[in-house]
């Protein structure tokens, strides 16, 4: 066993780990996709203060923001099948995507809601004045404007989600963190293995931060 850092090992490990990046990104994309749908729905329910649905959404948001993601993942993957047998067929990947979606949708709903409420109320009045319904107004005028406001913070959640997918290894998903853990255990090169995986996350996050930046420039130019 060496006491110094084995750079050679890190270099060799990188391409091996990168093969598992696909699973990580797949989880992040699907997680974000579903989170966005749930978040938009909850934001609309909350903005319109729809009776019952609004209270349920508040409860949902409070729970998923008020408990750790890891606990939620365990609850979904190990706990839920016990309660509802229908979920016993759920594989680890789906459970991870589901957990990530629910968890992040709670945060994203609040940021979308804030963006909607930030749109001047004269925009809604103008919609109503030409005979549109509130739902039409939302879809055609308010949400497009709010999405421009919310995009930077939603991108932040996406980046956060990429990092959070690493927790999926605790459910047994063969993603990049799980592979690093395996390599570390078999070679005892813990520092090198985890440094390698950290570097990969870092590069990926920097890439998406760059995209976020470019997107913001484009959005700011859009119609002002």
């Amino acid at each position: 066993m060496q006491t110094s850092l084995d750079f050679q090992y890190i270099i060799e490990l990188l391409p091996i780990l990168i093969k598992y990046l696909g699973v990580t990104m797949e989880m992040a994309f699907w997680g974000f996709f579903f989170a966005l749908i749930i978040a938009v729905a909850m934001a609309i329910v909350r903005v319109f203060k729809l009776p019952v649905a609004n209270q349920l959404a508040s409860l949902f948001i409070s729970f998923f923001r008020g408990t750790p993601l890891l606990v939620q993942l365990f609850l979904l993957y190990y706990g839920l099948p016990q309660l509802l047998p229908i979920f016993s067929g759920m594989n680890a990947f789906s459970a991870a995507v589901l957990g990530l979606s629910l968890h992040f949708s709670a945060y994203m709903a609040e940021s979308i809601r804030a963006a909607i409420l930030g749109i001047d109320k004269s925009q809604m009045e103008a919609c109503l004045s030409i005979g549109m319904t509130r739902l039409q107004a939302m879809r055609r005028i308010i949400l497009p404007q709010a999405s421009r406001v919310a995009t930077p913070s939603l991108m932040n959640y996406f980046i956060d989600m990429i990092k959070s997918t690493s927790l999926a290894f605790t459910l047994g998903v063969a993603e990049i963190m799980a592979k690093a853990q395996m390599e570390a255990a078999s070679t005892f090169k813990f520092f090198e293995s985890f440094l390698a995986v950290a570097l990969i996350y870092w590069v990926v996050v920097m890439f998406f931060t760059r995209i976020q930046h470019l997107l913001e420039i484009r959005l700011n130019k859009a119609y002002s």
């Binding site: 004269s122 103008a126 005979g131 055609r140 002002s224």
Partner: protein, 255 residues
């Protein structure tokens, strides 16, 4: 064409409209004047149900809504009978001038997109903005934005257009082009209700003038009656004051 009966509205314990009654005939141009805070905007907004009246009924082009049993469906139906021109334009910020005008045709009248855009273009041409179709509101001057606002209201094909101080957010240099568009609409026999502080303009275009104060209609009559021979003491004072300020502004321009 329009029948308003017993319309009242309060904000908390501030009574803003006190049992308003009035009628508007087809092709009539009604101008509402009165001191600030009198409820003129609130009245106009009630007609479009942008504010919900407490009591009374509103009937526009045969569609009647009573405050006590108004449903969202009835309200939308009533709203379709009128359109609104806002003091601060309130154009859709994410849509071009053309899209702003076409929006009601696409999403309310369910016109095919291509036809809607063609129709919108012809309306924008009428207000002199054929060159600005693809500009976003933020790229237009105040006067141009308000003309888009009027075009958007025209395109809805409601029976009446409601104007709430359409020129009072404008720099003086843009006022005339907006008034010119409104005069042109008046010539085309468009029914309009206009809240304005432009007394000279009111005199020129109004078939009927309504003077409001303290949430009530104090006096109504032809422009000639209200401006030259007001009956009510409050109307006399208001007309004298606003005509004087107009004349003195005119004088100071002449100097």
């Amino acid at each position: 064409m329009i029948k308003v009966r017993n319309l009242s509205k309060s904000f908390a314990d501030n009574i803003v409209l006190k049992s308003i009654d009035f009628d508007v005939l087809g092709a009539e141009i009604v101008v509402i004047i009165g001191p600030s805070g009198t409820g003129k905007s609130t009245l106009l907004r009630c007609l479009n149900y942008l504010e919900t009246p407490d009591t009374g009924s509103i009937e526009i082009a045969g569609v009647k809504v009573e405050a006590k049993n108004a449903t969202p469906k009835k309200i939308t139906h009533l709203r379709k009978q009128s359109s609104f021109v806002f003091q601060n334009y309130s154009l859709f910020a994410n849509k071009t001038a053309l899209q702003n005008v076409a929006e009601s045709l696409i999403s309310v009248s369910k016109m095919a997109k291509h036809d809607a855009l063609k129709e919108a273009e012809s309306v924008l041409r009428q207000v002199g903005l054929a060159e600005k179709l693809d500009q976003y509101p933020s790229q237009l001057s105040g006067g141009q934005q308000q003309r888009v606002g009027i075009a958007r209201a025209m395109a809805c094909q409601g029976k009446v257009i409601l104007f709430d101080e359409p020129t009072s957010s404008l720099d003086p240099e843009w006022v005339d082009e907006v008034l010119a568009v409104m005069k042109q609409l008046a010539k085309q026999k468009q029914t309009m209700i206009v809240v304005t502080h432009e007394m000279q303009f009111a005199r020129e275009i109004a078939d009927k003038v309504i003077f409001m104060e303290g949430g009530s209609i104090v006096e109504q009559g032809t422009a000639k009656q209200i401006f030259e021979n007001p009956q009510h003491q409050r109307t006399k004072e208001f007309v004298a004051r606003s005509t004087k300020s107009y004349t003195s502004a005119f004088d100071s321009c002449m100097l």
